[in-house]
């Protein structure tokens, strides 16, 4: 299959490129930029005039719900959602049922995903068996089976000794450890940020110190063990200050936030909107502004969707009993574009947070457009508005705080390994 993409505005954050250019694709890879190679006859011409051609998005947290939670979503529905959102590579946390704690499960997931021939799936292995926080998994075996990193999803590791050993063991094999900072006892009953809104609505709170205490433990252990750490979903101004300091010190840490937290705060809970029941909780406006500042400064490396499809029944409950999480794969691009527009961030900078930077964190050959690289691409119309509503989402999860919003930026074509995997109409 040979494809010619003509007249698109090519934005490649990895090479700081932003100009109109033609792309030539053959055998799954980019074979030329600008110049048509000799003897190249395209089987397919894509006219990208007025559109933006960027690397396929790399999403660091996508719950595919398989195995174990197929009533919430299936691999197929969520992979369709991924490519509809321009996401060509995604990392999935191990909180499936059973958790991704043994090589056979990881191989099966990779195999099923590969057969669908849509986006690339990169499983993140469980750090402890059953995500119970007690016994280490066979991390090296899991790596050989395809795990790109190790994490504990949203489950706490309460035993500090176990956390230290897991980091030491991961460092032995130079495996990176992804952790979410939340102290278990300070967040056990909480369902919302402990602040003004939770106080007004009478919702049990999760204080900011639940994040900073856990973060300081992780950072101290990182310093002690030398493990490579990626900090997932930082939510508070104070937490970001600690990450800023750790980076200044030269610790090998990276950090991401969810796209929801770039735009929303506790105020959006309104009168108990369970679509705003998220993990970590939406915090104050001050925290949201700090997230935007840290993104602009580069303290936050990546934005992920933290895609969590939840079935309607699990959201049609009182706020505290509802299941946390939001669907997000198809909103990642428009939400990042909105942030860029709101805060006047150059597109090449903004797109780096969902392409080259997360690819670097994941350690994959993706997130860049260059001759010889796999042709994983996203072509989107930057001016097209669309309304977020259940029928406009391919994901089986229709749960998002952005339901009813008009967003800008519509993916019109997604390519994975040089194949067109999404092209509506």
């Amino acid at each position: 299959m040979k494809i010619h993409i003509g007249n698109g505005r090519l934005i490649d954050p990895a090479s700081a490129t932003d100009r109109v250019a033609d792309l030539f694709i053959a055998a799954g890879r980019i074979v030329s930029i600008d110049e048509k190679p000799e003897g190249f006859h395209a089987n397919q011409e894509i006219d990208a005039s007025g559109q933006i051609v960027c690397p396929g998005l790399v999403d660091l947290s996508v719950r595919l719900r398989e195995p174990g939670f197929e009533y919430r979503a299936t691999l197929e529905s969520e992979m369709q959602a991924a490519v509809a959102g321009g996401v060509t590579s995604l990392a999935c946390p191990p909180d499936t049922d059973p958790p991704l704690d043994e090589p056979g499960l990881v191989e099966m997931l990779k195999h099923k995903a590969k057969n669908l021939n849509l986006a690339h799936v990169y499983p993140i292995g469980a750090m402890t068996q059953g995500l119970l926080g007690a016994d280490l998994t066979e991390m090296a075996e899991l790596r050989d089976a395809g795990c790109m990193a190790f994490c504990h999803a949203d489950k706490p590791i309460t035993n500090t000794l176990v956390m230290m050993r897991a980091m030491q063991y991961a460092a032995t094999f130079d495996l990176s450890v992804w952790l979410r900072a939340q102290d278990a006892s300070l967040s056990r009953i909480g369902v919302a940020h402990e602040g003004e809104v939770a106080t007004r609505l009478g919702l049990p709170g999760i204080p900011t110190v639940a994040e900073t205490i856990a973060l300081s433990k992780i950072l101290m252990l990182a310093r002690d063990t030398g493990a490579r750490i990626h900090l997932c979903r930082i939510s508070s101004s104070e937490g970001l200050e600690m990450v800023r300091e750790a980076k200044r010190e030269g610790l090998p840490v990276t950090c991401d936030v969810s796209a929801n937290h770039v735009h929303l705060s506790e105020m959006d809970i309104g009168f108990f909107d369970s679509n705003c029941h998220l993990v970590p909780p939406l915090r104050s406006l001050r925290d949201r502004d700090a997230i935007r500042r840290a993104l602009a400064e580069g303290v936050i490396d990546a934005i992920c969707s933290d895609h969590t499809p939840v079935d309607d029944d699990a959201k049609l409950l009182p706020f505290g009993e509802s299941e946390a999480g939001a669907t997000g794969l198809e909103l990642l691009l428009p939400l990042v574009l909105k942030w860029a527009e709101d805060d006047r961030i150059p597109l090449v900078e903004a797109l780096a947070r969902i392409t080259s930077r997360p690819a670097g964190i994941l350690g994959i050959e993706a997130g860049a457009i260059a001759v010889g690289k796999p042709a994983d691409l996203c072509i989107y119309d930057p001016e097209q508005y669309w309304k977020v509503e259940p029928k406009s989402l391919k994901s089986q999860g229709k749960n998002t705080p952005f339901l009813g919003y008009e967003v800008k930026g519509k993916v019109i074509c997604t390519l994975v390994d040089g194949h067109i995997v999404h092209r509506p109409h």
């Binding site: 003004e196 007004r200 709170g205 108990f272 049609l316 009993e321």
Partner: protein, 316 residues
């Protein structure tokens, strides 16, 4: 963002879910209507036909005898048909969701639901999903709101103090876990009380409570100085667990209302309590049964206030 659904497009009360956001004029209208019903409750035939033929369902997902009974009496005095459902014991244990239960009951031609639930926001959720002709009254949702309790408290204050604009009011006890306290705070600040204080140890005060327009005190002796109204809160026994409080004895010593502590308030101060009381824990019997206590009149007014809310909703 979801809008406040308790006011309909004509600015009338569609549901009563929380005091927050209701204008002072509407609160006074409810209290005025209640005043007209107090006469009814003192008559020999304690019934008016305002809600004849209406079906009112008491939907209690959390056990309660007192609140359910007062709603039942209020509904019967308005000549409505009342059905009591103790849900925790029936469908929920069979796995039926709360909204399934509500839909089933709606199909039985309910006109009004009185809802009590252990989760904050439950009444809002139900109100958002019932047919437009059905009214929902929140009889207590988690830690969030208990609007009819706050209204009967306001009725009592108005009855004894006439005017809200010069009062100092103290709410004493477990504000953190109290839906009553949250509704009282909204009602008092809406009705123009210039100084509302909350008094509790710091483990029982929610973060940012001052943003609700109140002055927090942890020293009860300072907090009670010169107050006109004391609103005592019930302290659940389980608060002695979970590192919130060390012991009942210590709590009573520092935060229990004794005659000595009451003497710090204004001599004509009134003492209120939503019941059921824990004598010797949050309140001394000498105060509960003393001349400044208006705890029993509160119960009587509570029926009139609930009649008022039901009749206003049924008329809108």
């Amino acid at each position: 963002m979801q809008k406040n659904i308790q006011i309909n497009q004509h600015g009338e009360l569609q549901h009563l879910l929380t005091i927050e956001g209701l204008p002072a004029s509407m609160l006074h209208h409810i209290l005025d209507t209640a005043e007209s019903f107090v006469g009814v409750t003192e008559r020999e035939v304690k019934k008016v036909p305002l809600l004849r033929g209406k079906a009112i369902f008491n939907l209690f997902f959390e056990p309660s005898t007192r609140t359910r009974t007062t709603f039942e009496i209020a509904a019967k005095r308005l000549s409505a048909d009342v059905l009591n459902l103790n849900i925790s014991a029936s469908s929920q244990s069979k796995g039926e969701t709360m909204l399934d239960t509500v839909n089933n009951l709606s199909a039985m031609q309910a006109d009004m639901f009185i809802v009590r639930h252990s989760q904050s926001g439950a009444a809002h959720l139900i109100a958002r999903h019932v047919a437009p002709e059905i009214h929902v009254i929140n009889a207590g949702d988690g830690r969030h709101a208990h609007p009819t309790q706050a209204l009967l408290d306001m009725y009592t204050i108005r009855h004894y103090k006439r005017d809200f604009h010069e009062l100092k009011v103290a709410i004493v006890g477990d504000v953190m876990h109290s839906r009553v306290a949250r509704s009282q705070i909204h009602a008092l600040t809406t009705l123009g009380v210039p100084e509302v204080r909350v008094i509790a140890p710091r483990t029982l005060l929610p973060r940012g409570v001052e943003k609700l327009g109140v002055h927090p005190y942890d020293d009860m002796k300072k907090g009670l100085k010169d107050v006109d109204v004391l609103l005592m809160l019930r302290l659940q026994n389980e608060r002695m667990q979970g590192a919130l409080l060390p012991s009942a004895q210590e709590y009573f010593k520092y935060y229990g209302l004794t005659p000595e502590k009451l003497a710090l308030a204004r001599p004509d101060a009134i003492v209120m309590h939503p019941g059921p009381m824990n004598r010797g824990l949050e309140i001394d019997s000498a105060v509960a049964d003393g001349p400044q206590s208006v705890i029993l009149p509160q119960v009587t007014f509570g029926i009139a206030v609930r009649m008022a809310v039901m009749s206003i909703l049924a008329g809108n």
